[in-house]
């Protein structure tokens, strides 16, 4: 069974005494009507209980530090430990966001140099680091596009084009920016259907949002034509940087014709996923969108660095966070970029692509069906389990769950939705050939099991802390917090 909740391990009055101020100050000068009448029911436990509970919980996770994650579109590469250690140096941790820049030129220099690096690898003219995740980077990008059209008085552009294979954040973001979304179909080779695009684009087109390579794991070969088409119609091109790892150092979005790009630093720049975040979604822009960059960003002045704000950038779309985005994540990305340097960044795309094509070849040989067999893989590729499902009844989900038993995280499943019974597999450049081979062996074993012992797969996983969970019940009988037994009123500082 799952460990008892931390609440259930407590006893009234137990505390981690070293952590509470020794003196209980009075609350007499707070207005009685605004005082809390009952203490919130938080755990009452010792420090050892807390350390033990969360250490043990951590062991119930898969993670990059313990497992291979062939998780398509997520770029689960090694998160170098130095990035963490150095971003958590006491000087950085204790820096107040509103401290004068004169007292933190070291921090400012890191951010400035990271801006420069991101410009270089994306082929953009200016970068703002403030977006706190990919989706916020998208929001920033689309808001800039909106501001651009408005600044030109071009108010007719109400539509954003999004390929059907796009990440869900793309259409969601376009809507958040007040746009209508128009889906563009994908052709049978995995490219954008150029005819469909041609008929969709027009004076109502604000922009097209593209990932290249696409989520299908293939490079959009007619990107130059697409860019011309959209630009000619007066629209702009948004580059969703989720797949930038594939082409890092090989091709630049700016050269493809994109006007704005966001970079998921928690993918391409190896900052940790942290069980769901924090990420960072820096945005880079070409000249047209430069006036609209979100603030603050760092600019150089003489020998030093300072924040640029609304005075420097009066047409800015404004702030996206209280302070400077996920600054600590940015420091990690900066350290990573410095460790790799120009030549190291170039290698990323090469080896990520090599590993993906290798896995694709090996898994094809095992008997799995590539969704686009005639195409090169980018840093990731799609398999369709439809033939296997037809033969054995085994679904993509069954394979995914069984992989957990073999000690591998599952690939992304059922995305992109246009590939039936889809597995989207991305090995990244940091896994060794041995580990890729072990993954192929596991996939081969599962392929055999699907024919020989399908029940075993349908019931998987077998060796994890829990078996498949009742998600219908989870959604229907919502149990979203521990039920708090009531406790009598007391002065919280007594």
């Amino acid at each position: 069974d799952s460990p008892a909740l931390i609440f259930e391990q407590g006893a009234a009055g137990r505390r981690a005494f070293a952590q509470t101020p020794t003196v209980a100050e009075s609350w007499d000068d707070l207005p009685p009507a605004l005082r809390r009448s009952e203490q919130p029911q938080l755990p009452e436990v010792s420090e050892l209980q807390v350390v033990r509970h969360y250490t043990r919980l951590s062991q119930r996770n898969f993670s990059i530090d313990t497992q291979f994650y062939p998780l398509g579109s997520c770029t689960m590469k090694y998160n170098p430990r130095a990035c963490n250690t150095l971003a958590m140096l006491p000087g950085f941790l204790s820096r107040h966001p509103l401290a004068p820049v004169s007292r933190g030129q070291g921090f400012m220099a890191c951010l400035y140099e990271l801006q420069e690096t991101l410009q270089a690898v994306t082929g953009m003219q200016a970068v703002s680091l403030t977006p706190m995740a990919g989706a916020q980077g998208e929001l920033a990008g689309m808001a800039m596009i909106r501001a651009y059209h408005r600044a030109r008085g071009d108010l007719a552009r109400t539509e954003v084009l999004v390929p059907d294979a796009a990440h869900g954040t793309n259409p969601a973001t376009a809507v958040m920016c007040g746009y209508t979304v128009r889906e563009i179909p994908t052709d049978s080779a995995g490219d954008v259907d150029l005819e469909a695009l041609r008929s969709a684009v027009g004076p109502h087109t604000a922009a097209i949002m593209l990932t290249n390579p696409s989520t299908l794991g293939v490079f959009e070969r007619r990107i130059v034509e697409i860019a011309e088409l959209v630009h000619e119609a007066g629209g702009l091109l948004y580059y969703d940087g989720a797949n930038l790892n594939a082409i890092l150092g090989q091709v630049r979005p700016g050269d493809m014709g994109f006007d704005v790009v966001h970079v998921n630093l928690h993918k391409t720049f190896a900052t940790p996923h942290g069980g769901g975040g924090p990420g960072a979604g820096a945005v880079g822009v070409g000249e047209r969108l430069r006036p609209f960059l979100p603030i603050p960003f760092v600019c150089r002045e003489g020998e030093g660095y300072r924040w640029a704000g609304r005075t420097d950038c009066p047409q800015t779309i404004g702030r996206l966070s209280t302070f400077m985005g996920n600054a600590g994540v940015l420091l990690r990305a900066y350290v990573y970029a410095r460790l790799l340097g120009a030549e190291g960044l170039s290698r990323v795309g090469i080896y990520a692509t090599l590993s993906a094509n290798y896995l694709l070849a090996r898994l094809g040989a095992v008997g799995y069906q590539p969704a686009y067999p005639a195409r090169r893989a980018s840093h990731e590729f799609t398999l369709s389990l439809k033939p296997l499902t037809a033969q054995t009844g085994i679904t993509a989900l069954d394979v995914a769950k069984r992989l957990l038993d073999y000690g591998f995280h599952a690939p992304t499943v059922y995305f992109p939705q246009l590939v039936p019974e889809c597995l989207l597999i991305e090995p990244t450049e940091t896994e060794s050939k041995q580990d890729l081979d072990r993954f192929v062996e596991a996939m081969a074993a599962i392929f055999d099991e699907a024919h020989a012992a399908p029940e075993r797969l349908r019931e998987a996983p077998h060796h994890l802390p829990v078996r498949r969970l009742d998600e219908v019940r989870a959604a229907r009988e919502l149990d979203l917090r521990w039920d708090v037994p009531t406790r009598p009123t007391q002065n919280p500082s007594a």
Partner: protein, 453 residues
């Protein structure tokens, strides 16, 4: 090749398996005109040793000052255990817990987080976090507009006593949808937002109520809640979560403790280091009836096939990866690691520890306010209650004074002259439980010296 394990032999074997002679062949679908851009303007790679030294030198130039800045980011004691555990590889390098069976650690932790946060806020439901306080307020605004029955109002009452950067962030995020933020003025004598002020304003879908407000002042949350309800508006509480250990929680605001609809804020005071402004995390709680309007991830408790208790992400049809253009928000990544730290922090301090930290901070701020206000020419701008942060007026412009204080190693506070010119030479000052009597005296002496000279 930092972090790339491929040996030349590996590469040859892999190319052979693929059936291409060299790596460049793998890029042959990319138009030649685009290929092989070189990374320029980036320094060459360096060893961890070299970069460690660089970063240590840079860090040494920072963060060593005695800090009396608050204004949305607060220096509190964080137990050593918090980050030693939160940065364990299994939390630090894990992905979003979509594969529930392989993520029970993170999932149970988030369930505990949701339980703690709803307890602290006295609300029904918490999500698993948003980016930060300001963006959480923006999501709360969007959520309120979705949840607001009986009207298509696109207006929100937004008090001027809300943090100016929060207001600006909300504007950036929501303005694409044609939402109007109506500024609710504060009383320049008290620094508070009188409930009657709403009378002069057009109807809105929701009122934002900050506690404490940006000036550290305690708004009359009951009256404001009642006034908003009387106009058919929802109520969004924007609170400092640490303060909620001793102040009336949003779930009990209003006559009869009717409570607010949505409570949000920044979780930074609960175990997150200042760290130059982030990563922090935004929290968002609501009443049960708004569950399906909630943006962001939510964890539920359920059972597995053998009836064992387990945890999983739930209500996913609200989210962008399922619902795409119709999602409640575009949010995907949140601030999971910060929530991990904050959950450990709250478990360590408990309600007693949080209450003591809050009151100790307040006591330090109160003592500092007295000391500074005793300096000739320095005055407390507003009378009455505040919570661990207060506004001073100085006898001369604030910026040069702050500069002089910084040279003495003291970060004296946040200059209000740009955001609130009507307040004159106003300075927002904060002290937390981390400040000693000697620290306060040091500030007092330095300020007195500067003002005298």
């Amino acid at each position: 090749m930092p972090f790339i394990p491929h040996t030349p032999e590996d590469v040859q074997a892999m190319l052979a398996a693929i059936g291409v002679p060299e790596v460049s062949a793998l890029f042959d679908e990319i138009p030649a005109s685009l290929r092989w851009a070189r990374v320029e303007g980036v320094p060459p790679g360096a060893s961890e040793m070299a970069i460690s030294r660089l970063m240590r030198e840079r860090a040494a130039r920072d963060g060593a000052d005695l800090c009396f800045l608050g204004a949305g980011a607060y220096e509190h004691h964080i137990p050593a255990a918090v980050w030693e555990i939160a940065t364990r590889g299994e939390f630090y390098s894990a992905y979003t817990p979509y594969q529930a069976e392989a993520s029970q650690g993170t999932l149970q932790l988030i369930y505990e987080y949701q339980s703690m946060m709803t307890a602290l806020m006295a609300m029904d439901i918490s999500n698993a976090s948003l980016y930060d306080g300001a963006s959480a307020l923006a999501e709360a605004v969007l959520m309120a507009l979705r949840a607001h029955r009986g009207g298509n109002s696109q207006r929100i009452w937004m008090p001027a006593s809300v943090h100016p950067f929060y207001r600006e962030t909300v504007r950036t995020i929501v303005e694409g949808q044609g939402i109007e933020l109506i500024e609710v003025p504060y009383d320049p004598e008290t620094g508070l937002t009188p409930a009657a002020t709403l009378d002069a304003l057009p109807d809105a879908a929701a009122l934002v109520i900050p506690l404490p407000n940006f000036f550290g002042r305690l708004e009359d949350v009951d009256a404001l809640t009642d006034a908003a309800r009387a106009r058919g508006a929802l109520v969004i509480a924007l609170v400092n979560p640490l303060a909620m250990a001793v102040l009336k929680p949003p779930g009990e605001w209003g006559t009869g403790a009717s409570g607010v609809d949505i409570a949000c804020g920044d979780g930074q005071p609960l175990g997150i280091p200042l760290s130059g402004g982030g990563p922090y995390y935004g929290f968002l709680c609501c009443r049960a009836n708004h569950a399906r309007q909630m943006p962001g991830r939510i964890v539920g408790r359920t059972v597995d096939r053998d009836g064992r208790v387990g945890y999983t992400l739930t209500l996913q049809p609200r989210e962008q990866h399922i619902r795409r253009a119709k999602a409640t928000s575009n949010i995907c990544t949140n601030q999971g690691l910060m929530v991990t730290a904050s959950t450990i922090h709250m478990a360590l301090l408990g309600s007693e520890g949080l209450a003591r930290a809050a009151l100790a901070s307040h006591a330090r701020a109160t003592a500092l306010a007295s000391q500074l206000a005793a300096i000739p020419g320095v005055e407390l701008r507003f009378g009455g209650h505040f919570f661990h942060e207060f506004v001073l007026t100085l006898p001369q412009p604030v910026a040069p004074v702050l500069e002089a204080l910084a040279s003495a190693g003291v970060l004296g506070g946040f200059d209000l002259s740009e955001a609130y010119p009507e307040l004159g030479n106003a300075l927002l000052v904060c002290a937390t439980e981390t400040r000693t009597q000697a620290d306060l005296a040091r500030y007092g002496t330095a300020l007195a010296d500067i003002l005298e000279s």
